[in-house]
Amino acid sequence: MREEEARERARRAVEIALAAGASDAEARIVLARRFNAQARGERITKLDASDGRSLSMRLFLDGRKATLAGTHWSDEEIRAGVTSALEQARYVGVDSYAGLPDPCALPDRRLDLYDESIENRDDDERLDDVRNVERSIRATDARIDNSNGSSYHDACVTMALANSRGALGSYRGTQAALSTSPVASEGAYRRTAHYGDASRFLSRLDAPDAVAREAVRRTVAFCGATKPPTQTTAIVFDREVAAALLADLFAACNAANVAVGNSWLAGRIGERVGSDLLEIYDDGTIPGALGSSPFDDEGVPTQRTTVFERGTLRSFLFDTYYARRLGARSTGNASGGGIGPNTFFLAPGKQTPEALVAATARGILVMETIGFATEHASGLYSRGARGIMIRDGELAESIEEFTIAAPFPEILAGIDAVANDLKFDGSIAAPSFRVAEMQVSGSLSAP
């Protein structure tokens, strides 16, 4: 019983930490069986199958906190690691908010996180999937003449948690993912895009040819792309790009950033910062979703939190420490020693993304962004982008080598349409949406 073994190791680690002098301790064990395969052309080019294990601990010494992480496994290894970490803890400032969550029973909820058919899957079937994606991209469009490879990944993960306030729990989850990166040659350039799907259930994972088709569509869309003129125009964020933008917004909602003044949302609870269509939740209880789990990484039950309601900021996202500091309750967002999303998502609208484009007189459908540094303190968003011009509701020429930029409050206030294509394929998800106006920086010439 791997799950039993993990719980026992976690419980034992806490025991060792207390014996070594910790006033409180928490141990989290992750066991993962991972399978990774990559195909390119007719060959399987990568095959990686490993069983991994890791231990992460938080140790408290009279209001001081230290962490221990790594591959420690035997009692002796854990004892040595705990001793090193506790020695460091003595240099940490005493913080009255630091500590374990208040005792509560770990919920034993059925969230539909485990798919036996992934655990029992035959290697040949896994390899067939990845070969089929690779074959399909080349068969779908004659312009695809190369590839960066197609990948299949799956994992069976067991998480166990114990702490010195009596918490002891575990859960299992699976995930499977298929992705590909087709290449189309265009003169000296190679057009590439990356697209994939992920799910906790094999039966809900997009079929190989569907993944291939979407990846190819995203690759050839940019053949012949030009650089657009500098302008101000409506921007339609495709769902993939919309999710990336939401990741930046999550950082501003992260209570750890709020507490230290590194968020433009600090001090704005109850304020209206977006349009009526800005409806955002963080939810760890959606059955079958990749971001769901019965409890977070410090053993607090997950929940559904309303973050923005009709444009008004309702809540930040907390772990126990920042909840205590800011006088709130944990929202069950403790993740890997910090604060992370469960499923952080924008509520969908009613129209299809195609209808949204058709209802846009002039604008740009942005399908890819590059760059990652958003200033969370000032809330300025600026990205390199690729997309397709929209004229009179029709997709026109493809464009690239431009940036889109705006202060975050203006983006959120400018959301004037949201599509219905929300899909829980990651811990941050969004449907396509439109922002009425953003600054586009391209070439010098006027339109």
């Binding site: 390119r40 199958a49 992480a69 790594g70 090193s84 460091q88 290697d123 190679r190 303190a377 586009v440």
Partner: protein, 471 residues
């Protein structure tokens, strides 16, 4: 570690098992990495951590295919089992068969690139003192600084690499980093500044590059950004700052020259060795042998001695960066650029330290020559599309240049461009070449490795600035 977790006899048995079902090459990568780190925020040390990761991975290579398996349990039984799983690739491809050469005795790296004598992580008191000094200096230097975050990391990585061609090598690589982030505030306006340094050395490094210097620099950038104006949108003549501006070479050129992309023919630089890819004043090297740089190592993560590779020489493309697998397939020798994040990862061709030698134009002359442009003094990071060469950089500190004079600071804007296009538009190279402060990390295929960059100031005749203000 007190004892070597991998012996020549043990490694030999693992390699023999790895190649039993076929394959052309196999290796065992065994690693023990221990890290101590501390983080300061709001005037106090908030958190301290210790981590230790010990494990080994076995790889079998057949043609362009690699089988891999790792384990955190270093008993010979588990390692042999991992070798068996890695060998599955050979059963799939059924080509090639070699026998492992008898391993030489363990060769311990001895060159002078960095100090290998230290076997223990730094004492916690030393880490704490550095953070406290940084905090005090940052707050004292600028009254508008409202928050100071600082972190310090001391890491020791020990690695043992056994290869089926008989080589068995050991190295101990140190790495330290001290980083300071300051937030300045006036009303609702905020500005952020970051400065970090370190390298493959010990905390003694911060005796000469002091925490006070780093803190004051972070505070200065924060206040510059606080007072900065929104950046304009459009195309501008651009100066890219010396040192950290080298991120431009890394993103715009370096990634496109990595052997995997070129072997597959998916880089825009594929098949173009000997061709002109940049203006004549552009020369770019990658070097894994620069003392104490983050990207340096005696040998790479496949046990190949790191090299000095000419990538671009006076505008002509000269070479790619290779690991063993891609070098074999392209019929050349590895350049010592096979790198991996940890024993849980397969090696990839990666840059070590990428830099450009100096030109002859002084900075003030370059500024004076710009009529209406941008001085991007430092970058917060960048990204590139390999096939097309399009890149973006986030400016960490930047200014307008108007009529040959440095003007107001611009707020955190993004520069977009195309690598080969930008490289042909380099019109002047400064005489101020230097390596950047050592804190850069490069991500590729989900793996993160430390790198170094360096450059003189470059003048590029046109780049797109992604600001918020209409031109």
């Amino acid at each position: 570690m007190a004892n070597d977790p991998l012996t020549a006899q043990g490694a030999q048995r693992i390699l023999d098992r790895a190649l039993r079902d076929g394959g052309l090459f196999a290796d065992v990568f065994c690693e023990c990495r221990s890290t101590v780190q501390m983080r300061l925020q709001e005037g106090a040390i908030h958190e301290a951590g210790f981590s230790q990761n010990l494990g080994a991975g076995v790889r079998v290579v057949v043609g362009e295919s690699a089988g891999y398996a790792y384990t955190e349990d270093l008993t010979e039984e588990r390692l042999i089992e991992a070798a068996g799983r890695a060998a599955a690739i050979a059963r799939l491809t059924a080509e090639g068969s070699v026998r492992a050469t008898r391993l030489e005795s363990l060769e311990r790296a001895r060159d002078a690139l960095y100090d290998r004598a230290r076997t223990e992580n730094a004492a916690p008191a030393l880490l704490a003192a550095l953070l406290e000094r940084a905090e005090i200096a940052a707050r004292a230097s600028e009254p508008r600084i409202v928050a100071v975050n600082a972190h310090v990391v001391d890491e020791l990585q020990e690695l043992w690499i056994a290869r089926s061609d008989g080589s068995f090598r050991f190295d101990r690589r140190p790495m330290v980093t001290l980083g300071v982030q300051c937030i300045a505030r006036a009303g609702r306006e905020r500005g952020t500044g970051y400065c970090a340094d370190g390298g493959r050395t010990s905390l003694d490094f911060f005796g000469s590059t002091t925490p006070e210097q780093l803190a004051r620099e972070a505070a200065r950038i924060a206040t510059v950004n606080l007072d900065a104006r929104p950046a304009p949108a459009g195309e501008f003549e651009t100066l890219i700052g010396a040192g950290g501006g080298g991120v431009l070479l890394h993103e715009a050129v370096g990634h496109g020259l990595e052997g995997d992309f070129n072997r597959r023919g998916v880089s825009l630089y594929s098949g173009r060795i000997g061709e002109r890819v940049a203006s004549e004043c552009v020369t770019i090297y990658d070097d894994g042998n620069l003392p104490e740089e983050r990207g340096s190592a005696s040998f790479d993560d496949e046990g190949t001695t790191c090299g000095h590779t000419v990538l671009v020489e006076r505008g002509i493309l000269r070479g790619y960066l290779h690991d063993e697998l891609n070098a074999r397939l392209m019929g050349v020798r590895s350049t010592g650029n096979g790198r991996r994040q940890s024993f849980r990862h397969l090696p990839q061709p990666r840059m070590c330290n990428t830099y450009m030698p100096p030109g002859d134009v002084p900075l003030d002359e370059m500024i004076a020559s710009v009529r209406d442009g941008i001085y991007a003094k430092s970058f917060a990071g960048g990204q590139v599309d390999i096939g097309k060469g399009d890149f973006v950089f986030m400016i960490a500190e930047g200014y307008r240049i108007e009529r040959g004079r440095l003007g107001a600071a611009v707020k955190n804007a993004t520069i977009v461009g195309n690598g080969p296009d930008a490289m042909t538009k380099v019109t002047a190279v400064g005489n101020d070449a230097r390596l950047a402060r050592r804190h850069y990390t490069c991500g590729k295929g989900g793996q993160y490795v430390p790198v170094g960059v360096g450059m003189p100031t470059l003048k590029v005749s046109a780049m797109s600035l992604g600001g918020t203000e209409g031109a």
